[in-house]
C-alpha cells in the first residue's frame, strides 16, 4: 500500500493541511528540521480526516522512532488516536529532540523527558501567534503589559507595538488602569483579569502582590524595569534592568530584523524528504 521505506530510523512528520505541491508550510518545514535531529524525516501527506489511520498503518509497518504532529485542536485528536493505538508515549509542546542512552529525549519549555516506548508521538506548537490577536486578554498566548514605570499613555503605544510584533494582547497593571493609560477591563490584577499566557512581558511593572497573583499561570515571564529591586524581577525568567524606552525600540528593531530573515535552524531542512503519499 505504501512505497517502500528502506530507511534507518524513520521519523514520521504529518504535513500541514495548507501544504501544496509547490511549497511546504513553515510549520511543516520546522517539523522536518526537528525530525532530522533524531532520524530520517519521512513526510506523510494525506487527508487529515484519515490521518490517524494512515499514520498508524505506516507506523506498524516501519516502526518509526517518533511521529511529529503540529499542535492544534483537530491535530490533538489525531495525536491521541495514534498514541493510544500504538501504545506510545506522548509529549506535547516539544521544542527540541535529542538522544541520550538510546532513549529519545523530548525537551519542552519547562522540562526534558526521556521516552521509554519504541515509538513516541511528539506534538509541536507552531511558532506564529497570528491567530491569537482576536482572543481575549485572559485567553491570549502572549500578553504584554505596562505599569506606572511606563510614564505616560504615549508610552503604552510603544508597548502596543511590541504586543503587535509578538502577536499578543496588551494589558496593564491596576495602577495603569486607574491612571487611564489602559482600559480598566485590561487591568491584570486581583480583582481583575487573571492571565495564563505562554509568554508574559512586563514593562515598567514593579510587581505588586495582586499583580503577581494574577500572572501566576504564565509560562515564561519577561520583565523590563529600571529598579533592580522590583519584586517582579524575582519572578521573571528573564529580567532586564534598564529604561524600557530604550530597550523596547531596540527589541522592536530586533524582532523586525528577525521577521525579515527567518532564522536558520541548527540542522538544515532536508531538501528532499522521503514522501509517503497516501
Amino acid at each position: 500500500m505504501f512505497p517502500p521505506m528502506p530507511l534507518a530510523d524513520p521519523v514520521l512528520v504529518l504535513a500541514d493541511e495548507t501544504d501544496d505541491d509547490d511549497a511546504l508550510a513553515q510549520a511543516t518545514r520546522e517539523l522536518l528540521a526537528l525530525a532530522r535531529r533524531v532520524g530520517t524525516p519521512v513526510l506523510v501527506r494525506c487527508d487529515h480526516c484519515r490521518a490517524a489511520e494512515v499514520l498508524i498503518d505506516i507506523a506498524r509497518d516501519h516502526r518509526p522512532r517518533a511521529i511529529l504532529i503540529n499542535s492544534s485542536p483537530a491535530n490533538d485528536r489525531i495525536s491521541a488516536q495514534v498514541a493510544v493505538h500504538l501504545e506510545s508515549a506522548i509529549a506535547t509542546d516539544v521544542t527540541d529532540l535529542s538522544f541520550d542512552d538510546d532513549h529519545l529525549v523530548a525537551v519542552s519549555d519547562r522540562m526534558s523527558s526521556e521516552i521509554h516506548t519504541p515509538t513516541s508521538v511528539i506534538t509541536v506548537r507552531p511558532r506564529n501567534h497570528e491567530s491569537q490577536r482576536e482572543l481575549l486578554l485572559t485567553e491570549a498566548d502572549v500578553v504584554v503589559a505596562g505599569g506606572r514605570g511606563v510614564g505616560s499613555a504615549e508610552g503604552f503605544s510603544l508597548l502596543a507595538r511590541v504586543a503587535y510584533a509578538l502577536g499578543g494582547r496588551l494589558g496593564g497593571t491596576h495602577t495603569a488602569g486607574e491612571l487611564g493609560w489602559c482600559p480598566r477591563h485590561a487591568s491584570i490584577s486581583l480583582p481583575g483579569a487573571r492571565i495564563r499566557p505562554r509568554l508574559y512581558l512586563a514593562g515598567g511593572v514593579s510587581g505588586s502582590v495582586r499583580h503577581r497573583s494574577a500572572i501566576r499561570g504564565a509560562g515564561t515571564v519577561v520583565a523590563i524595569d529600571s529598579d533592580p529591586n522590583a519584586p517582579i524581577l524575582r519572578e521573571a525568567d528573564f529580567g532586564i534592568v534598564g529604561d524600557l524606552h530604550e530597550v523596547l525600540p531596540a527589541l522592536l528593531d530586533e524582532l523586525a530584523a528577525r521577521a525579515a530573515s527567518p532564522p536558520q535552524t541548527v540542522t538544515p531542512v532536508p531538501s528532499s524528504p522521503e514522501l509517503a503519499e497516501a
Binding site: 490533538d76 485528536r77 495525536s79 491521541a80 488516536q81 498514541a83 493510544v84 493505538h85 501504545e87 506510545s88 508515549a89 506522548i90 509529549a91 506535547t92 521544542t95 541520550d100 529525549v105 519549555d109 519547562r110 522540562m111 526534558s112 523527558s113 526521556e114 521516552i115 521509554h116 516506548t117 506534538t123 506548537r125 511558532r127 485572559t138 502572549v142 509578538l166 495564563r196 505562554r198 509568554l199 499561570g217 515564561t220 519577561v222 533592580p228 524581577l233 524575582r234 519572578e235 521573571a236 525568567d237 528573564f238 529580567g239 532586564i240 534592568v241 534598564g242 529604561d243 530604550e246 530597550v247 525600540p249 531596540a250 527589541l251 528593531d253 530586533e254 524582532l255 528577525r258 532564522p263
Partner: protein, 193 residues
C-alpha cells in the same frame, strides 16, 4: 446515572478540574438519581485534591494509589482512567481540558479514544468560581474515597529534569541593543517568537 469526573494527579485541584466538577454537578442538580464520582491516579497526596473536589459537592471518589505513576505520563494515566471507569460503569465522563502540567491536555482525547465514547472536555474558567462552605468541607471528610491498586507497566515517560526558574537578570548599561538581542535569543530558544 453515574458521572465520572477525571481529576489530574497532584495535591492541588486545577482550575479546569474545578470547572469539570461544577459542570457535572449542574447535571446532578437537575436529576435525582445522579452520582458524581471522582477518579484520580497517583501518589497519596492526590487525596487533598479529591477532598477539595468532594467539598464542592461530588458524592464519592476513587483513588488509584501508585507512587510510580508520573503526572506527566498521559499514556499510563489514560489507561488507568479507562480501566477504572469501565469497571465502575458510567453514563458520562467529564474531564478538565487544559492543564498546567505538560502532556496532560491530551487526556480527554486519549480516554475518549480508549473508551470509544465521547468525553466531555471542560475548559478552565467555564464556570463561575464557587468556594465550598465550612459544613461542606466538614461533610467531605466523611465521604468515601476508595483506594485501588492496579498492576501497571513501566512508565512510558520519565522526566529527567525540571529546571527551576533560571532567572537571568541582565543590566542594560549603555547598550540596549545587546539586551534586546539576548532577549530575542531567549525567546527564540523557547519557541516564543
Amino acid at each position: 446515572m453515574r458521572i465520572i469526573v477525571l481529576i489530574k494527579p497532584g495535591a492541588e485541584l486545577e482550575d479546569s478540574d474545578v470547572c469539570a466538577v461544577e459542570h457535572a454537578l449542574q447535571v446532578a442538580r437537575r436529576r435525582m438519581d445522579v452520582q458524581v464520582t471522582l477518579l484520580t491516579a497517583g501518589p497519596a497526596e492526590c487525596v487533598h485534591a479529591l477532598r477539595r473536589a468532594l467539598a464542592l459537592g461530588a458524592d464519592d471518589a476513587v483513588h488509584v494509589l501508585d507512587d510510580r505513576i508520573s503526572p506527566y505520563d498521559a499514556l499510563t494515566l489514560s489507561r488507568v482512567y479507562t480501566e477504572v471507569a469501565a469497571d465502575l460503569g458510567f453514563d458520562l465522563v467529564v474531564c478538565g481540558a487544559a492543564s498546567v502540567v505538560p502532556n496532560l491536555s491530551m487526556i480527554p482525547d486519549m480516554v475518549s479514544v480508549r473508551l470509544g465514547t465521547p468525553v466531555v472536555s471542560v475548559p478552565a474558567r467555564s464556570a463561575p468560581p464557587r468556594h465550598p462552605s465550612f459544613p461542606a468541607i466538614a461533610e467531605a471528610r466523611q465521604k468515601l474515597i476508595s483506594t485501588r491498586i492496579l498492576p501497571l507497566p513501566d512508565p512510558a515517560i520519565i522526566v529527567k529534569d525540571l529546571p527551576a526558574c533560571p532567572n537571568t537578570i541582565i543590566n542594560v548599561g549603555n547598550d540596549p541593543r545587546a539586551a534586546a538581542v539576548r532577549l530575542v535569543e531567549f525567546l527564540a530558544e523557547r519557541r516564543l517568537v
